[in-house]
């Protein structure tokens, strides 16, 4: 039995609704979920990307996952709806607050750019309307090389019949192009009644033309590689990462001015390295290399 994940539960301000949603997800056997914050980028003016709400403010008690004795794991995810190339900013500080980063391209040019250059974990596929473009093999293969996943949401298909047709068409078009690899299936609903169990979702994915094993990967191991990819994106290929020094470990004798200065410092104050010798060489070598799918697996083990 593998760990099942649902990486798209839209954020709702309604706490009660979110709680039932999380409880249902845990009951169905999802061990990891991601709360999705959608950011609609506009072309005019600089707009603020919302900060994720801290988890302890959202839920009081995490529900226990079905069939396991561990509580459900909740992550934060940001989806940027891009309509122009400059909406995605590389290395923006706001992105660092989120665990997973996703983009939703609306035109072919943006889709191409998202597959080739954007440093993201997930590329969302439009499912509520007819695709404005055809998928091309070149960008999809490039995305696969880089370990970026494509996401198909199934909730709209449950809602009504025309949506179902669009979902199936677009899902089929995607799976035909990338042979069922690098696809994750997630819910994308904020109603508890529209969630489905992991085995049902895997079976649903078979309607897109995926094989049994690929469909199961879509709800389990591909989601896991999304998480690992997110980690490598944050931490120079998963080898080096920076930690913020905890506030209470600072010397207490110093006066208040110095303390405030220390806390204002960027989180790169302390670096932890796995390989002690030839520090600078490893750093430059690692950061120059793009994090590929193979790299993730080695860093995971």
């Amino acid at each position: 039995m593998s760990l099942f994940m649902d990486l798209n539960l839209p954020f709702t301000a309604d706490k009660k609704r979110l709680k039932t949603l999380l409880e249902t997800a845990a009951h169905l056997g999802f061990s990891t979920v991601a709360i999705n914050y959608v950011h609609k980028a506009q072309s005019k003016g600089k707009q603020e990307i919302p900060k994720p709400t801290p988890l302890d403010q959202l839920v009081d008690e995490l529900p226990i996952v079905q069939g396991r004795s561990r509580p459900i794991k909740i992550l934060n995810r940001l989806t940027i709806l891009v309509t122009d190339t400059n909406h995605y900013r590389t290395n923006a500080a706001e992105y660092k607050a989120y665990d997973i980063l996703a983009v939703h391209p609306t035109t072919e040019k943006l889709f191409h750019a998202a597959c080739m250059t954007f440093d993201v974990d997930i590329i969302c596929i439009t499912i509520t309307e007819r695709l404005p473009f055809f998928f091309k093999r070149a960008p999809i293969n490039a995305a696969r090389e880089r370990g970026v996943m494509f996401e198909v949401c199934y909730a709209a298909a449950i809602r009504d019949s025309t949506m179902r047709r669009y979902t199936l068409t677009n899902g089929l078009a995607l799976v035909e192009r990338n042979n069922g690899k690098n696809v994750i299936i997630s819910s994308g609903t904020d109603k508890a009644l529209e969630l489905r169990g992991p085995y049902d979702v895997a079976n649903l994915a078979q309607l897109f033309g995926m094989s049994e094993a690929e469909a199961k990967d879509g709800v389990s191991s591909n989601c896991r590689s999304v998480l690992l990819h997110a980690e490598t994106r944050k931490t120079a290929s998963g080898i080096i990462y920076t930690v913020k020094t905890p506030k209470d470990t600072e010397p207490k004798e110093t006066d208040t001015d110095t303390i405030s200065m220390v806390t204002d410092e960027p989180p790169s104050a302390k670096k932890r390295k796995t390989s002690a010798e030839t520090d600078t060489d490893t750093v430059s070598m690692v950061t120059d290399e793009p994090p590929s799918a193979k790299k993730q697996k080695t860093s995971a083990s």
Binding site: S2, R164, Y199, D200, N203, E212
Partner: protein, 169 residues
């Protein structure tokens, strides 16, 4: 004589209002599933599920049901199950969803079941698990002793069943 092969799908019925669960019956669920198959797979699907397709068992208290379908078309029927969103019970439309608990999935071969008996065995194990989950949620001591006793009863029954099996072997 060739045996007619069929698959059994053990599903959990999730209803948002728990009191509505007691209204569950097999006939309305059967027609709801049939409608979902028809809307998903058209006339071909509806024809497939008119042979050897039935709702074998519905437990209104725990919200469990068992569907029997021919082996050749069980994937077809299963793929339509997520699209069941409501069932008409006693003239009211009740929103619900079905969650498959026990069916064969690639890679998870241990879930495959071709007989109604393996489904029953799984269900006993599953319900015991549910009791274990209920225990920490109990508020009064009365409830707690009740659940504890139920767990004890189910586990002793399982042990007894095993002994019987050993003897017969």
């Amino acid at each position: 004589m060739v045996r007619v092969k069929s698959r059994y799908l053990l599903c959990e019925i999730n209803i948002s209002v728990p009191s509505n669960r007691l209204l569950l019956e097999d006939r309305p669920i059967f027609s709801a599933v049939k409608d979902a198959v028809a809307s998903m797979h058209g006339d071909y699907g509806a024809a497939q599920c008119s042979i050897g397709f039935s709702v074998k068992y519905v437990n209104a208290l725990t919200g469990i049901m068992l569907i029997r379908c021919p082996k050749s078309s069980y994937r077809l029927i299963w793929s339509a199950l997520p699209f069941v969103t409501s069932v008409e019970l006693k003239g009211r439309k009740i929103p619900l969803f079905l969650n498959c608990l026990h069916v064969g999935v690639a890679g998870g071969g241990e879930l495959h079941s071709g007989t109604i008996r393996t489904c029953q065995k799984f269900l006993v194990r599953y319900n015991t698990q549910q009791l274990h989950r209920m225990l920490p949620q109990c508020k009064t001591t009365d409830e707690k002793t009740h659940v504890r006793r139920a767990i004890l009863r189910s586990s002793t029954k399982m042990l007894k069943g095993k002994e019987h099996k050993d003897e017969s072997d």
